[in-house]
Symmetry: C2
Subunit: 594 residues, 2 copies
């Protein structure tokens, strides 16, 4: 059964004969957990996330207030169709195959600009996973402005070559259409029809489960941090077959079962105002619309040039080789941010290089001198208007919508820089009432909600710099208990957001942020600021509780005191009542310091 | 300073014009933290790890008892030369450029066989990082058996195209030579000269720091789990310049400073028997040899074929398309493990497919039927003789060498399977004496040492299934205290090893293992077994301590009892002493149950 190694140990020659190229698609197919497709549950979330990221980016780049529909349909026990439709600018036809069926292709990688996507992998990876698990193609409908029809394509990846294969290519009369639902999940108002947009549909092996890492949670958090977004979410589940058939059989439709329906429904029904809209005996549909809270687009972030202090020697050499400028001086001032013509001249002089030298003819030792001169030159920090933070007001509003809590605070830090990339940290913190919020309690670890460029991060908290920073803060000094090297305990929700022109994720699935020192530092400062405010609140609350306790203690004795006075002074019952009343009034007026 | 977006929002057409291919080298250059090169300290470790992995794999494949030299030399304040030399079979010349300067190239990806490397990225990534930070090329010396000279090449990656560029290519009279050192770091015995082997040298921005994530620790742990390896490790540090110059200036040699020397030296000097061998005023050299403990090679693992139950539908379709077999039946029995000719026939019949059908002409619905038939067919589990575990005896020996502890145990689980890939979990556990082991204590989280295919994993514990499994076990029931959702506390070291034909790492840096359910389950069972044994030990120890406490309590009263008896019975002092003696003897004989 095993494939033997051909008798005896390998030689340099026999090993050489086995060396081969590995296509990037093959690599990620075998390592699909790197892309977030290691389990059917996570696969469903990752596919939705990649499609929604792309839709939001496209709408925002096109200056369009985003309206997005996410539709999940269970088509067999362990198979779903994921469909995401947007009102974005659409995609020109010849780009569709590469965008949806080629890894490492895109417009966002070679620029420094804050966006959700950045790698050119995500949506093609989702399609590749669908293809792997169901053999089905990715289907795309897209209509651009002023076009007469929409393009309808079915594409797959040729994984051996990482190239798209087009299975069908037709034109179709299609307009993206969005139907809002009310709190009962019933259609409300007329459908909204857009004249342009894109819809992508992928069939894949997947599993729907509620909870903290569910699509429901992703969609909800997405709406919180993107208040300009209208998002329609619908879920069509088919009842599960008998337990005995699980995992092997396709779905056998069953007669209706209300209990099953409730179990399969959206999470947190009361909070989100969802109701089920049962469309038959064997399936259940639930839908919700998150209507946009603001009608202004967030500021469209600017693209920036690399900052010289964030560029390594090897990268500098590459940039000088590739530049379109004719002199070193103009390359420095033209290809980098924060380098004026004068500064460029200073750098050349400091490096001992003639400023008019052709940059493509620079020798290794000259690059080294230039690199050193750049490091020794004081430069303004990178521009930070390229970032679009959520803002303290919006973070507070988001938390208040989600939680029953007695204390809310938020901090948006000033922008900072890691490896030449501007970034900005925001923290929100709420101290909730344990009885009114599921999963929160005095003995429970705090809940950390993580976001990067307005995208919720639901997986791999343990790998994330955000978790690391929360764990690293000394919360005992702010009034929370905290086991060693662990999250603090208490009914607390902490929201953390990082905005950057380049978010350093720890893997291609973009679930966790790498622990660069500068990022950890900024996170820590923001958390400490919130911690100090929490500590003031907890201290005050403690004092108030203590005062209330004292007062109730004294109140206990007032009737006895009145009774004693009545005996001594021979008072009537009416006079006694008056004394009790007066004493209580006095007590209320008195400031009880603890 | 910012690069504006060209006025106004983007259109489908303007966005299309920005779409581009991204080369895999560019991708990883920008995401170098994915490869383990996010900080100078980690970069040093990652480079050593990748080179040592390759050397060990090459030696074992070639049937050669490995002898490896790791040399780190600080050549400027933040710059090191990393050189790793082995006595492996060597590399044929035309393969050298691709192996060392092209990402996604190698012999280990397209096979299922237990080895350290698997991705075809590691060593080229280290070279690419060196090139990025210093502009220097990777230098390789390699000599194969029966060759008259060695090849000496200098290569770099053309990152735009992910292709090697050869900067120099000469022949050289070179033989890999290894010099052992004694406990004082002094040369001992004659140098060992091999007739074949490879040496790779990379200059890079790096930092040397001692501690749990250091090269020292990696090298030490590597020697523990590879007892057939002789490993020479030498570190040459140059004294640091004044604090004021740090980070900007190259190193200025200083006059000798013993304190600095001690600070810069290898960690854990007393434990590893290291001494410094000072070679001048401005630098320090420390070296150590870990001599092999066994002279037998570990079993060379077999390569296996994919197991049908681990192959997804899409992969099955691809395999049928690519097979060299002429019939579906022979493709099933020839390309998969655990499928006999009879089983292949049964599968075809069950799927309703003529067994002699040409596999390349199978339609989509036929593949689906075949896939379903395979799932419904009972098959033997994948072969497991392809795994080479460390073994319980070796794990115990390794832990005993490292720790002063009162209790050791080890478990090697039976092989199991995830996604069709055989794997095997091993656990070692030691309950140490806190006073005699640094970093361990009753209030400290336990220390977890992680290994995959005999490679120590030092980074990203929070992302790793191994940490998750340790945290998930209820250690309170085994006698350790444990904060919620956190590691247990106590002077305990837990060693975890996963051996597999394909280790699912959470990122290309290969520091943490993905949380597949089957892997978590096996880890948990192994940990629980060790936990139960620990609990027996702790219970017994508790009983003994309790007995000792009772005894000392009773002993306290014996003299008073004797004095009373003396008074009552009018005994002499000698008789009193005898009574005390007798009572003590009785006490010692008595079994004191708690």
């Amino acid at each position: 059964m095993t494939k033997r190694n051909g008798g005896g140990p390998a030689t340099a020659e026999s090993m050489a004969s086995k060396q081969r190229d590995i296509s990037v698609s093959e690599f990620f197919l075998k390592n699909r957990h790197l892309l977030g497709f290691d389990s059917p549950r996570r696969a469903l979330l990752t596919a939705v996330k990649e499609a929604v990221d792309n839709s939001l980016d496209a709408c925002e780049e096109g200056g369009i207030l985003p309206e997005i529909a996410v539709e999940l349909e269970q088509i067999a026990e362990s198979r779903f169709r994921v469909m995401v439709t947007d009102n974005g600018p659409g995609i020109v036809k010849n780009q569709i195959p590469k965008i949806f069926a080629k890894l490492l292709y895109g417009s966002k990688f070679h620029r420094l600009r804050m966006s959700r996507g950045q790698q050119g992998i995500g949506i093609s990876a989702a399609g590749m996973y669908g293809q792997l698990t169901t053999g089905a193609a990715t289907r795309i409908l897209s209509r651009i402005k002023h076009a007469k029809t929409a393009h309808s394509l079915a594409v797959q990846i040729d994984t051996r070559q990482n190239k798209p294969a087009i299975l069908s290519d037709t034109e179709q009369d299609w307009l993206p259409t969005f139907q809002a639902v009310n709190a009962e999940g019933q259609p409300e108002g007329e459908p909204v029809i857009s004249k342009h947009g894109t819809s992508v549909s992928i069939e894949m092996e997947a599993a729907y489960l509620r909870g903290k890492q569910s699509v429901d949670e992703f969609v909800k958090q997405c709406a919180i941090v993107n208040p300009h977004l209208t998002l329609h979410y619908s879920l069509k589940l088919t009842a599960k077959p008998e337990a005995g058939n699980r995992g092997k059989e396709n779905l056998k439709p069953e007669t209706g079962n209300l209990k099953l329906r409730a179990e399969g429904g959206l999470s947190d029904i009361s909070a989100s105002g969802l109701k089920f809209q049962v469309s038959g005996f064997s399936s259940q549909v639930s839908s919700v619309t998150y209507v946009r809270a603001v009608k202004e687009m967030p500021k469209i972030p600017d693209e920036i040039l690399p900052h010289p202090h964030g560029v390594e020697l090897g990268m500098l050499m590459q940039m000088l080789k590739d530049t379109e400028s004719r002199t070193v001086r103009s390359a420095l001032s033209g290809d980098f941010s924060r380098v004026s013509a004068q500064t460029a001249l200073d750098i050349c002089v400091r490096a001992g290089i003639e400023p008019k030298t052709n940059p493509t003819r620079i020798a290794h030792h000259e690059s080294e001198a230039l690199y050193k001169a750049i490091q020794d030159t004081k430069l303004m920090r990178p521009p930070t208007d390229c970032l679009s933070p959520i803002g303290e007001a919006q973070i507070l509003a988001g938390l208040q919508k989600e939680l029953k809590a007695d204390f809310f605070t938020a901090v948006t830090r000033e922008p900072a820089v890691y490896r030449g990339n501007p970034f900005q940290i925001e923290i929100g913190l709420a101290y909730a009432r344990p009885a009114e919020n599921e999963g929160l309690g005095n003995e429970e670890p705090v809940r950390v909600m993580r976001f990067a460029n307005r995208v919720p991060l639901l997986y791999q908290p343990g790998a994330c710099a955000m978790t690391k920073a929360v764990t690293g803060v000394n919360w005992k000094s702010y009034g929370l208990s905290q086991p060693k090297d662990a999250l603090p305990l208490g009914p607390v929700v902490i929201l953390v957001h990082m905005a950057s022109v380049w978010v350093p994720f720890t893997s291609e699935s973009k679930d966790a942020i790498a622990s660069y020192g500068e990022i950890i530092d900024e996170l820590t400062l923001g958390l400490q600021e919130c911690g100090r405010r929490l500590s003031v609140f907890l201290h005050k609350r403690h004092r108030e509780l203590e005062a209330a306790r004292k007062r109730s203690y004294i109140e206990l004795y007032i009737p006895h005191l009145a009774l004693g006075l009545k005996d001594i002074l021979k008072l009537t019952g009416k006079e006694e009542d008056k004394i009790v009343g007066n004493l209580k009034k006095m007590l209320e007026k008195t400031h009880l310091d603890v």
